[in-house]
């Protein structure tokens, strides 16, 4: 391909994991090209001014799981990573509320107002989960071994993990086993009695999945959300100044600092495979780029069923990818507000608006929301995880105005009759109506409403079926099975073609981890 610059590696997709891989490869001296289809970088970690003056965190909205070593190694704070603490979680109830704050005395007193037993259990729960978080770290930080035909290095990795597990206390092992298998509701029932507390905590077990809090396996998803820490504090959530798009931009600046070329509005149509080897990519506009290796940051369906020809892949692998569960279950409603929402349970302004607000008054609320989805409808009274970014970062909205980010579940991708404009707006109405029950002034202050359905996530952001994690975080799709057995170590059946998206170990969320570990794997085998 004369006249076209030769790269060591091409990365398909400028999402945060693709950018992370680019930065790591660049840091190791490789010449990398990142190709992004959209006009903005970040994939689902993006901030866009959808309504003049109002910046929306269109999809992902909070950060906790970003790996500290990635922040350090890529010097992300220097390039704009600034994580502001989300200090509290408010669960509005009819006529009451539950709030957990950064102050442990305050939180104790507040939970004790509802249940003294829970208040005390809560003080033990945090450290226990912190320990569990620490004990699963080694799994997350291990390149998933080939479970069918382990190599020597796989065996040594497995042995290390085995030794680690033998070092756990019996109590830790018990919690871990429970978290890997139980439903989040069952797990929490062993600890607590006050239902709004349990329901709110169980909600971390359903985010991004097609499960309810009583579905077995949801406890693992809860654990997945516990593994993050900010400044050594486990389970701490943060808001990136400027929105999650600014995380992507920080990684992009780091990648550029390490010499990567990043191009937007360059949609890759397919990977060029010659003699079973990836040699470059072809763009939708007809341009081609060649490179020694090609890495896909897309989800497994896109990576294997869209970017390459099925005939270049083993048939059983194609089956595995086709069977990979990637059902989207969530939507996003972003609101531009003329003023602050006024909660019936805690009127006026206050610290409670600075953290997360969870519409999760009971298990029944969550399960009924899930029931709607099981039968192909969006939830009439959905679960919501809400934040007000403009309270934390006034530059997200014009002075005195606000933006509200509502993560909403459930919104099934496979909705009866398919998603269209009418259903999108009806879904938006259901969200606003559910909110209005707790925030009576909400309808009066909405200046603009952006509703993002799973179908929109697929068309706009390329997330197959609108799954925010690039595939369900269920046990059969984790570690050595993510996305498929034998190909969980970022390699693929096609030589010189690699994967680095959330559909690989250790999965979704703004972690940088798949991108980092893919790059390290690739550098380890680069000849």
């Amino acid at each position: 391909m004369p006249g076209i610059k030769q790269y060591d590696a091409i990365i398909i997709g400028g999402g945060h994991n693709g950018l992370t891989a680019a930065a790591y490869l660049g840091r190791a001296g490789k010449k990398v090209l990142v190709l992004e289809r959209r006009h903005v970088l970040g994939g689902a970690a993006v901030t866009e001014e959808i309504f003049p003056g109002f910046k929306f965190t269109v999809c992902s909205y909070v950060v906790s799981l970003m790996k500290p070593n990635v922040m350090r190694e890529l010097m992300l704070p220097q390039f704009g990573l600034e994580l502001l603490p989300l200090e509290s979680t408010l669960t509005p109830l009819d006529g009451d509320y539950l709030i957990r704050t950064a102050d442990s005395d305050e939180t104790y007193r507040e939970i004790a107002r509802h249940s003294r037993k829970d208040a005390e259990a809560y003080m033990r729960f945090g450290p226990a989960m912190g320990q569990i978080g620490m004990s699963v770290r080694p799994i997350l930080e291990t390149i998933a071994p080939n479970a069918i035909r382990p190599s020597l290095s796989d065996l040594s990795a497995l042995k290390k993990l085995l030794n680690h597990f033998q070092s756990l206390s019996s109590e830790q092992f018990e919690y871990l086993t429970k978290l890997m298998t139980m439903s989040s509701a069952d797990f929490l029932d062993e600890w607590f009695e006050f239902e709004p507390l349990k329901a709110t905590m169980s909600a971390s077990g359903i985010i991004g999945t097609f499960m309810g809090p009583k579905s077995p396996g949801s406890a693992y998803v809860m654990l997945h959300h516990y593994m993050g820490d900010i400044d050594g504090a486990f389970r701490a959530w943060g808001f990136q100044r400027g929105g999650t798009g600014a995380v992507s931009m920080a990684i992009a600046r780091s990648a550029e600092h390490f010499g990567a070329d990043i191009m937007t509005e360059k949609a890759v149509s397919n990977v060029i495979v010659k003699n079973g080897r990836a040699v470059g990519v072809a763009l939708e506009n007809g341009d081609e780029f060649s490179a020694d290796i090609v890495i896909s940051g897309l989800d497994p369906k896109q990576t294997f069923l869209n970017m390459v020809d099925e005939n270049d892949l083993p048939a059983d692998f194609v089956d595995d990818i086709k069977n990979f569960r990637i059902r989207g279950s969530s939507g996003k409603v972003n609101l531009a507000l003329d003023g602050l929402p006024n909660f019936t349970c805690l009127p006026g302004e206050g610290h409670h608006l600075r953290g997360a607000i969870s519409i999760s008054p009971s298990y029944d609320h969550l399960e009924q929301a899930y029931d709607d989805a099981k039968y192909g409808h969006f939830s009439q009274k959905p679960f919501m995880d809400i934040i007000l970014p403009s309270i934390l970062d006034p530059e997200m909205a014009p002075p005195g105005k606000h933006v509200m980010s509502c993560f909403v579940q459930y919104a099934p991708y496979d909705i009866k009759g398919g998603w269209d404009d009418t259903k999108r707006e009806a879904f938006g109405d259901a969200v606003v109506n559910t909110l209005a029950r707790y925030v009576p002034n909400i309808k009066d202050i909405i200046l603009h409403r952006q509703v993002v359905t799973p179908a929109d996530m697929e068309t706009t952001f390329g997330l197959t079926e609108g799954n925010i994690f690039h595939g369900e975080l269920s046990l059969q799709q984790l570690f050595s099975f993510r996305p498929a057995v034998r190909w969980a170590d970022y390699t693929t059946p096609i030589k010189n073609y690699f994967q680095c998206g959330s559909g690989t170990h250790p999965g979704g969320g703004i972690t940088g981890s798949p991108g980092e570990m893919a790059a390290k794997k690739i550098l380890g085998i680069w000849k």
Binding site: P77, E82, A102, E106, G130, G232, P399
Partner: protein, 409 residues
């Protein structure tokens, strides 16, 4: 709020003219003493929001406890130029200079800012009382020196939205006010002076007013500042920010030469990272000879930034089965610094920097160990046992955003 939740106590400490507001806002009722004043440690139960207000919104701090003196008269410029180490002769009206001042032995007494209010009128701020020293050195000069400490109240407004807030309050635009300059303006009909100065290393201002106007200024700032995230902020947050900015604190990072009971406790500006502020080309000033001599023989100590390296620090904690134990507030306990087995210095303040995601400290080290990137060891305790953790000499300020100096126009 029920009366049982109200806090009131008789105190012998000074109360700032803002106390009527700050005491009601201080939910934690955590106070520190600052120059004999009751000064808020943090207004909320935890200080995180206040820290981040400095870096992402606007933090409002009551800095009235600063000592302030007015120096005026035909010899005011000449006198101050003799008193401090910087060149006051080039300080224009409306300009502010940060400067240390020393005794005859070139040992630092204090540091503060000199504001040139008019041709013959200056305000100098200090951390400790300096009236006696100033008066003593003014003998024979045509200047009048008065204690301004209680006749001027002051606030610091620090953070990225601070300019927006002042523009919403003041009759004149702040857009052209440059770093280390000041201007007179009015908040409706209240006269105020605003200097683009601060102790956070961020975009920020200090507002100087009559104590009688203090509450009206406070109220206006809070009202106009609300859409911009104005946040009353205490000393916990300030201490973290000033370490990130690499700014020294008297009685923490050094001891005034006037109060050091032994010679080794004294420091020269060269030993405090303030060599840039010592203008040896000036005709004469207090301590000049000693400082010239020190410069030619090279100072014994240097004041440097340290970064405690993460990986070994984390490993030390993991070995004990603990997550990395990060200080969530700034510390100010003298901490030994080693090169191998030999102690070569001591850190005087440090903090985890949430914005930089680095564990940073300010330290005195022997000059031969002060070069950037020198690998030293920092003493810490992991589960009560002393360990040494690698630390590297790094440039200060640790945090230095462009907005600190830039103007919108």
């Amino acid at each position: 709020m029920s009366s049982s939740k109200r806090f009131a106590a008789e105190t012998q400490l000074n109360l700032s003219p803002f106390f009527e507001r700050t005491s009601k806002l201080n939910e934690s009722q955590e106070w520190r003493r600052w120059s004999g004043y009751l000064s808020a440690t943090n207004y909320e139960l935890t200080h995180e929001n206040e820290y981040f207000a400095i870096r992402t919104k606007a933090a409002l701090l009551d800095i009235t406890p600063l000592y302030k003196y007015i120096v005026e008269g035909p010899d005011a410029q000449a006198f101050l130029d003799r008193l401090v180490t910087r060149n006051i002769n080039i300080c224009k009206v409306g300009q502010v200079m940060y400067t240390p001042w020393c005794d005859e032995d070139g040992k630092q007494i204090d540091d503060g800012t000199v504001q040139r209010l008019t041709q013959d009128r200056f305000r100098i701020t200090s951390a400790e009382p300096n009236l006696e020293w100033i008066n003593h050195n003014a003998a024979g000069m045509d200047v009048t020196i008065s204690d301004d400490s209680k006749s001027t109240a002051s606030l610091a407004l620090q953070g990225p939205t601070s300019r927006d807030i002042l523009n919403a309050c003041a009759q004149d635009s702040l857009d052209t006010l440059k770093f280390f300059w000041m201007m007179d303006t009015q908040f409706s009909d209240i006269p105020v002076s605003i200097s683009r100065t601060g102790y956070t290393g961020d975009l920020g201002y200090e507002i100087w007013m009559k104590p009688d106007d203090a509450l009206a200024v406070w109220d206006l700032l809070l009202e106009k500042g609300k859409p911009f995230g104005i946040t009353p902020t205490g000393l916990h947050a300030l201490d973290m920010a000033r370490i990130e900015a690499g700014l020294i604190l008297l009685d923490v990072d050094y001891i005034s030469a006037r109060h050091a009971i032994i010679e080794s406790r004294k420091s020269s500006p060269f030993e405090l990272g303030l060599g840039w502020a010592v203008k040896l080309k000036k005709k004469d000033f207090i301590g000049k000879k000693a400082l010239e001599a020190e410069k030619s023989r090279k100072p014994e100590w240097k004041f440097v930034g340290l970064e405690i390296e993460w990986d070994p620090f984390e490993k030390l904690h993991r070995k004990a089965g603990l997550p990395p134990g990060l200080p969530c507030t700034a510390w100010r306990t003298s901490t030994p610094i080693y090169n191998g087995k030999k102690q070569v210095g001591y850190a005087t303040s440090g903090t985890w920097s949430p914005i930089l995601k680095r564990y940073i400290a300010l330290a005195h080290v022997k000059s031969e160990y002060a070069k950037e990137n020198t690998q030293l060891h920092f003493e810490l305790k992991v589960e009560h046992f002393r360990k040494l953790s690698p630390a590297r000499v790094v440039k200060t300020p640790f945090f230095d955003p462009e907005r600190k100096r830039s103007c919108p126009v």
